[in-house]
């Protein structure tokens, strides 16, 4: 199971001539605001179609009609004006009434079962929605055939949950699942040298490969326009040459 994008073009937002994401990878998509990170995720998630004629979004080995059981995507906005409980959210969007033990261990969401979502704190809501997305494709994940896309999932998550959840994702990646996370927590790149990084700028992929080989402080100057003397200490990577 691989993801293969070809000739993707969305005016003023995204232009990707070719992108290949193999099974068993965890990719950090980074870039400035408006660089096209969310748009790329939405294209992979099937939410946006390319405007170009020869565009291809291929996910090998998965039949299109079963795609919703394999591919999930956490988007940035998940509010409801209706007073839904966490249990209802799970029932409406996943095959499970409660989170499987393995997910609950990491995100501790089953304790909120009867609570209304909008009464939870921002971080608690984010955990619930992350759990919801993973539960949607949980069966596929366990077979190592899940595609997990997350748009800024670390927002509002406290560090303890970030650590636990990322460790969990690394386990799932080992089993063959494809994980793509768009985020701004660049410090995480230093912690995960064997993950992939995909750097975006002006709707285009500027660099894509293993963090240990690609990522260095110069990237911050080049792709984020941060002057060298302003790069914070915690982003000086151990992979500096």
């Amino acid at each position: 199971m691989n993801i293969h994008l070809k000739d993707i073009y969305i005016a003023e937002r995204l232009h990707v001539s070719e992108l290949f994401i193999p099974a068993g990878t965890l990719t950090h998509v980074i870039g400035q605001n408006g660089a096209g990170k969310s748009t790329l995720l939405h294209v992979i998630a099937g939410l946006l179609s390319s405007e170009s004629r020869n565009a291809e979004v291929t996910i090998t080995e998965i039949q299109l009609r079963h795609i919703a059981a394999h591919r999930c995507c956490l988007t940035q906005h998940n509010d409801s004006v209706f007073g839904l409980t966490v249990a209802e959210l799970f029932r409406f969007y996943t095959p499970f009434a409660v989170a499987p033990a393995q997910i609950d261990e990491v995100l501790a969401v089953n304790q909120y079962q009867s609570r209304l979502i909008h009464e939870l704190s921002g971080g608690q809501q984010q955990r619930v929605h992350i759990a919801r997305c993973m539960m949607q494709v949980w069966e596929a994940i366990q077979q190592g055939r899940g595609i997990l896309l997350f748009d800024e999932p670390f927002d509002a998550l406290d560090l303890a949950y970030q650590i636990k959840w990322l460790a969990c994702l690394h386990d799932l990646q080992q089993q063959g699942n494809i994980i793509v996370i768009a985020h701004h927590q660049l410090a995480w790149l230093n912690e995960c040298p064997n993950d992939d990084v995909l750097i975006m700028q002006d709707g285009q992929v500027q660099a894509h490969g293993e963090i240990a080989t690609i990522w260095q402080p110069a990237c911050l100057t080049q792709y984020f326009h941060i002057p060298e003397q302003h790069i914070p200490l915690y982003l000086h990577t151990p992979f500096m040459s």
Partner: protein
């Protein structure tokens, strides 16, 4: 995909209440079995009235429950988003404008109302699409269409003759006594079809709570679902308005209260709204009959009974 089950007890309770209310109504006709006059009254007046009440109550409450979800607005009802005002305007054109000979009113009025409801729904949808198809845009468009329809209706009043305007006024306030069997046969058929169609989509509606994108991620086409549900609701509301006039507040009230008590699962809320809406209308029929001969406008009763209940529910807060 295993589907978590829903509680069914409220559905059976609602059915029991409806049967009970029907029983009470039948028992009001104490000499039903022995007296020929009483039988005639029951068969030709009471029974069509009960059937109208059941059909209209379930149609309005059920379509509102669905509209609230597709428009992502717990306050949506056919009145607020302007579907019923389109139907009312067409009724006005038919009654005051005298477009149709009175002999064809039986078929013409429901048809005109349905076309009116469909036209206004279509306009609302197009207008909302130009306003980027956000849910508040649909509501805004609905308010705009309602205002235009109300203005047009007011012009009709000015130019209509006295008898026709009086007929229209009574018709607009809602009544269950207009319906006869031929109308009911057609309207009932359409409403039952609409109810069936909404019930068919009740599971899919659950995926709209978090917005269109999250529905799409589950493999559902949210725009198509919204379009389909809007058309079904236009159908249900159009037919309801055409056989019973415009009835306020039931649509908003019933699903809103049920969601507060039983949660948001549409697999329960959609059918239960239909049943409770029907039961509520039966209560109103019974109240109306107990008032002996004074045929009060239905909207007056729904607002009088429903309003205080609504306030009470709001004060109760979340009951779960």
């Amino acid at each position: 995909m295993p589907v978590p089950s829903i509680q069914t007890a409220p559905l059976f309770i609602a059915i029991a209440v409806i049967v009970g209310l029907l029983g009470i109504n039948v028992s009001l006709h104490s000499q039903l079995l022995s007296d020929a006059v009483e039988q005639h009254i029951f068969i030709n007046l009471s029974l069509p009235m009960l059937m109208t009440a059941l059909l209209v109550g379930s149609a309005l409450a059920m379509s509102s429950a669905a509209l609230q979800v597709v428009l992502n607005n717990p306050l949506a009802d056919p009145g607020i988003i302007g579907i019923s005002s389109g139907a009312s305007l067409c009724a006005g054109i038919v009654i005051i404008g005298g477009v149709l000979p009175s002999s064809s009113l039986i078929w013409g009025l429901p048809l005109a109302c349905f076309i009116g409801a469909l036209l206004s729904s279509g306009l609302i949808y197009l207008l909302a699409k130009r306003l980027a198809l956000t849910h508040s845009a649909v509501i805004l468009a609905g308010i705009a269409i309602s205002t235009v329809c109300a203005a047009a209706l007011a012009w009709l009043y000015i130019f209509g003759d006295a008898q026709a305007t009086r007929n229209l006024t009574f018709w607009l306030m809602g009544s269950f006594q207009h319906a006869s069997y031929p109308i009911l046969a057609v309207a009932g058929g359409i409403i039952l079809l609409g109810i069936g169609a909404l019930s068919y989509h009740r599971s899919a509606l659950n995926s709209l709570y978090l917005g269109e994108i999250n529905a799409q991620l589950l493999g559902i086409d949210p725009q198509r679902l919204t379009r389909v549900v809007l058309v079904i609701c236009a159908l249900l509301v159009g037919v309801s308005v055409s056989i019973a006039g415009s009835i306020a507040f039931v649509g908003l009230l019933v699903p809103h209260i049920l969601r507060r008590i039983f949660g948001s699962d549409n697999r329960l809320i959609i059918p239960l709204s239909g049943l409770v809406g029907a039961a509520l209308m039966l209560v109103i029929v019974n109240v109306n009959q107990l008032l002996n001969g004074v045929d009060l406008p239905i909207s007056l009763l729904t607002a009088s009974i429903g309003g205080p209940i609504f306030v009470w529910v709001l004060f109760q807060g979340q009951q779960r």
